[in-house]
Amino acid sequence: MPIVEFKGVSKIYSSGEHELRALDSVDMTLDEGKMVVILGPSGAGKSTLLNLLGGLDNPSEGKITVCGKDISKLNDNELAEYRAETVGFVFQFYNLIPTLTVYENVKLVSEISKDALDAKEIIDKVGLIDHLKNFPSELSGGEQQRISIARAIAKNPKILLCDEPTGALDSETGVMVLKLLLQMAKDYGKTIVIVTHNQNIAKIADVVIRVKNGKIRSVEEQENPLSADEVEW
């Protein structure tokens, strides 16, 4: 049963007479509970794809259906509701609120999500229960990313969207973060979409979608993905 469906989706940026097609008539479906990696070089259109899926932007053409709901024509407020209820984001640079503590950063989402999970329980799951009262600037990069994952999970979204989640981390920490992501997705039954240019990360995916020049080049299902521990880069 597809949780996400893209039909003829394009994103066009125009500046004067010039037109840039960041995504060009993309058709794509993602199944629930799967671990999907979108792979591609810089400028391929993978982040655009993630932004459209995450409701950060509207497509120029085509239709995007998530959990049976067409999100391509939503207005600002409806998109905000969609982001609050359906998707959770994990970014390369964590994007925690520097003036809120670890606990408050995770608890924050309970203000917008009707179905939020217990913040302390999630923080405990990511192994940072001893840092509840710390500010993000008092944590390492890996720890900050773990809190970022906790915050994304705490909203109890259907889909976790991760944009280069290990991009700012060393390989050891990166592996740890990937492991945590997989574990959390499994424990809480989430669909994960990771956008990366790192080929090695693709090895842990159930589905690998390769993107180039705004088009989907291939969709590959992996029957035996590696565990996060086995990934090296």
Binding site: L56, N77, E81, R83, F89, K107
Partner: protein, 795 residues
């Protein structure tokens, strides 16, 4: 190439640049405008006084001065020029409540006039030179006949010219009047030749009446009048009219008093120009302007400069990468410094230039013929003048702003190019003291976020707070000043003056005749005379006010039931003697000294005075003559009497005060509008700064699913908090500034601080309104947050 970058960078920070220029313009404009105002008063009135030979000293003698006495005065070493002078208020024939002060400057060397149209002064002519403003208000023109009444007699003459005079630059009929009313009161000059013919005519009539009363037949009277009405008799009558000698001299008052005493062998009342109502009021206005100029506009300029410090520092921080890039490209530090320093220089020059224009506009709004002071001062030239210290302030501001840019960039240039190229790292978040307060953790996330943001960006928060406090001070100060003045007038209208008509009597009017008149029209009365008290000239006010038509009030504005046991000093004299002390004073023209016990203080409207009851004056043996009667009788029902010099109804008098309040209203309006603009500009600038600095955090909230409205609320709530604190601090600070202003203005008026609830309400409402408006303006920007772009940037 760097110049292009300068222009483009300035454009990219246009909100900040425009607001910085606006702030400096507004700060400089208010500072220059208010300071130019008082300097212009000093300069223009000074020039006018000089061109009309305004007297440095006035000598008064009830019996008048003879020509030989004038010669003796002229002989005093240090007396430059002197003239016998006459100024008497006469009614305009056929007009109710219109009067003209008729002046004669005998040798026309002191207290002269300038003609704005018609002929110049000519001692041989017999007509009048009339105040041009009075002429305009009453539709008189050159060639018309002016008819005045003097002691029941008519005096007529042709209007030869329209003039202005330093003696009447502030043309007030009475010391109780605040604003000139050219429709009801003006002045005119005539020549000694005309005076002589008037005196001759009136003396002849007086002699004839006297002889007739004695029973002499008309024929005999006609025959003998020639021998009785000798030149000496006319001269004597004329001498008695010249009760004043006006002179120009550099001598001190004490030296002149001594010299006059030596020459004339008696004590003569000498008043310096500082004591003359025109000079005193003009200088009082200038002083008032100085006081106003030394606090409120300085506050404007200070807020503008301080906000500029914060903004410039933030821009330099934001430009760190660009600075690093230029450095890495091989640009020398000096070149980069010059480039960035020129931003401050540009803002300084533009702001100061525009501020000068605004300053001139503000000054002209107050000090020009069509401006607020146009009715108050009647003078020919209205040239704006700048106080000398304003130039170094202008240059200093430009240098200071340039220095701010220089220091902000210099900080970024420290270290290697690689270090500069590293992005700016915001301060690490640490727990502040507020977080130790019990219950902090129970606050909502928005509240915590805002509290921490405020403590993280202390200078920005402090500047916002200073902006709000400044805005509040300016509003409370401006509106409160208006309240105080309005309350003062209300007090004057209802509590002090319960009369309908004020009847002014001739100087030295016969006491028994005055008392008869007072009894006839049923009123209270007072006697005002100059006395010497502790080396100063003050007014002795002898009052009889059993009917409560003219009241004396205490410092709390309550009526005083005057006691016969002692005297009351006005509040301005309270430092001179305590209650229970015995004071000594002596009337001018007398060697006698009187002693009286101080039993209280009273609030005097305009003059520095000592007040006592008529009973006490009689007990002490003080000779007095009634100067004014206050009655409920309507102005047109007052019987004609030769001792009456003028009548004023209260409504007319209060109208002149209303014009004064209108001036005040305009100044307050300018101040409040400027305060609102300053508030908006300062808060918007800092609001944008806060928005830019939190852009990434706001984008994160948006990505998480917070709606624009929720984020807007967060931003506005921070502004509202700062406003609450600002109002809580600004309100008492505003009252404090107002109190200080009232004390500083005490030499002019004895005011009691009065603040109406509406002032508090309007000040708070406007400040919150400004804060909310700016909050909404900034919050609107939420819609434009580019979530994707913001979240790609590394911290």
């Amino acid at each position: 190439m760097l110049f292009r970058k300068l222009i483009r960078t300035a454009w990219s920070y246009k909100a900040q640049f425009i607001s910085m220029i606006l702030m400096i313009t507004l700060g400089m404009g208010m500072f220059l405008g208010f300071n130019m105002e008082w300097r212009t008063i000093e300069y223009d009135t000074g020039k006018f006084f000089e061109s009309t030979n305004y007297a440095d000293f006035r000598l008064y003698s009830k019996d008048g001065f003879t020509s030989s006495e004038l010669e003796a005065i002229k002989d005093i070493k240090g007396v430059e020029k002197a003239t016998r002078f006459l100024s008497v208020n006469l009614d305009l024939k056929g007009e109710k409540n219109k009067a003209v002060a008729l002046d004669v400057s005998e040798n026309y060397t002191v207290s002269t006039f300038v003609a704005t149209s018609g002929s110049d002064y000519d001692e041989k002519k017999q007509g009048f030179w009339l105040s041009d403003k009075f002429a305009a208000a009453n539709k008189f023109k050159i060639g018309d006949t002016l008819t005045l009444t003097f002691k029941g007699e008519e005096i007529s003459g042709e209007i030869l010219g329209l003039v202005k005079s330093g003696e009447h630059m502030i043309c007030l009929a009475d010391t109780n009047q605040l604003m000139p009313d050219y429709n009801s009161f003006g002045f005119a000059y005539t020549t000694p030749a005309k005076l002589e013919s008037i005196v001759k005519e009136t003396t002849e009539k007086e002699i004839k009446t006297e002889l007739k009363e004695k029973g002499m037949p008309d024929e005999m009277i006609e025959k003998s009048i020639g021998s009785i009405l000798t030149k000496e008799a006319v001269e004597k009558a004329k001498d008695s009219l010249f009760v004043q000698i006006n002179l120009c001299s550099d001598l001190s008052k004490e030296d002149l008093e001594e010299a006059v005493k030596g020459k004339l062998g008696k004590t003569i009342m000498v008043t310096s120009k500082d004591e003359h109502v025109v000079y005193k009021e003009a200088m009082g206005e200038a002083e008032e302007g100085k006081t106003m100029g030394s606090i409120l506009p300085v506050l404007f300029l200070a807020i503008a400069i301080l906000t500029m410090v914060t903004t410039m520092h933030r821009i330099a921080t934001k430009e760190k990468l660009q600075i690093g890039t230029l450095k890495a490209l091989g640009f020398k530090n000096r070149r980069i410094l010059i480039h960035y320093t020129s931003y401050g220089l540009l803002i300084g020059i533009l702001g100061t230039a525009l501020g000068s224009v605004l300053g001139l506009f503000v000054c002209k709004l107050i000090m020009s013929e069509d401006g607020m002071m146009g009715t108050y001062f009647d003078m020919p030239d209205w040239t704006a003048a700048v106080p000398a210290f304003c130039y170094p302030v202008m240059i200093g501001t430009i240098i200071f702003l340039t220095l701010i840019s220089f220091l902000s960039v210099k900080r970024q240039l420290m270290g290697t190019a690689a270090e500069t190229l590293r992005p700016y790292v915001p301060k690490k978040m640490r727990k502040s003291i507020i977080e130790k307060i019990k219950g902090f953790n129970k606050l909502g996330f928005g509240t915590k976020w805002n509290v921490r943001d405020l403590s993280r960006h202390k200078s920005r928060s402090a500047m916002t707070l200073i902006g709000i406090i400044g805005c509040m001070i300016l509003m409370v100060g401006g509106l409160g000043m208006r309240d105080t003045m309005a309350g003062f007038l209300d007090l004057l209208d209802n509590d002090i003056s319960a009369y309908t008509t004020k009847v002014n009597l001739n100087e030295g009017a016969d006491l028994s005749e005055s008392l008869k008149l007072a009894k006839e029209i049923g009123g209270d009365y007072e006697s005002l005379s100059g006395i010497s008290f502790g080396g100063d000239t003050v007014t002795l006010d002898i009052v009889k006010n059993d009917n409560n038509l003219y009241n004396i009030i205490d410092k709390d504005n309550n009526r005083i039931n005057l006691s016969d046991e002692g005297v009351y000093l006005c509040l301005r004299l309270q430092d001179k003697a305590s209650i229970g002390d015995t004071i000594e004073f002596s009337p001018y023209g007398s060697t006698k000294t009187y002693k009286a016990k101080v039993i209280g203080y009273n609030r005097s409207i305009m003059t520095e005075s000592i007040t006592m009851t008529e009973t006490l004056a009689k007990k002490l043996g003080i000779k007095y003559s009634i100067t004014s009667i206050y009655t409920k009788t309507a102005t047109d029902k007052i019987p004609t009497s030769s001792i009456i010099s003028g009548k004023q109804n209260k409504a007319q008098l209060m109208e002149t005060f209303t014009s004064f309040v209108e001036i005040m209203d305009t100044m307050v309006f300018v101040l409040v509008i400027a305060a609102i603009i300053l508030g908006i500009v300062v808060l918007y600038n800092l609001g944008i700064m806060s928005y830019v600095e939190r852009y990434r955090e706001l984008a994160t909230l948006k990505v998480l699913g917070f709606k624009n409205r929720d984020i807007g609320k967060l931003l506005i709530s921070q502004n509202i908090w700062l406003t609450v604190i600002g109002v809580l601090v600004g309100l008492p600070a505003g009252v404090g500034v107002l109190k200080w202003l009232i004390v500083a203005l005490a030499s002019e008026y004895e005011l009691k601080l009065m603040l109406g609830p509406l002032t508090y309400f309007v000040s708070i409402l406007l400040t919150f309104g400004v804060s909310l408006l700016v909050g909404l303006m900034v919050a609107r920007k939420n819609k434009k947050i580019d979530m994707v772009e913001a979240l790609k940037i590394a911290e």
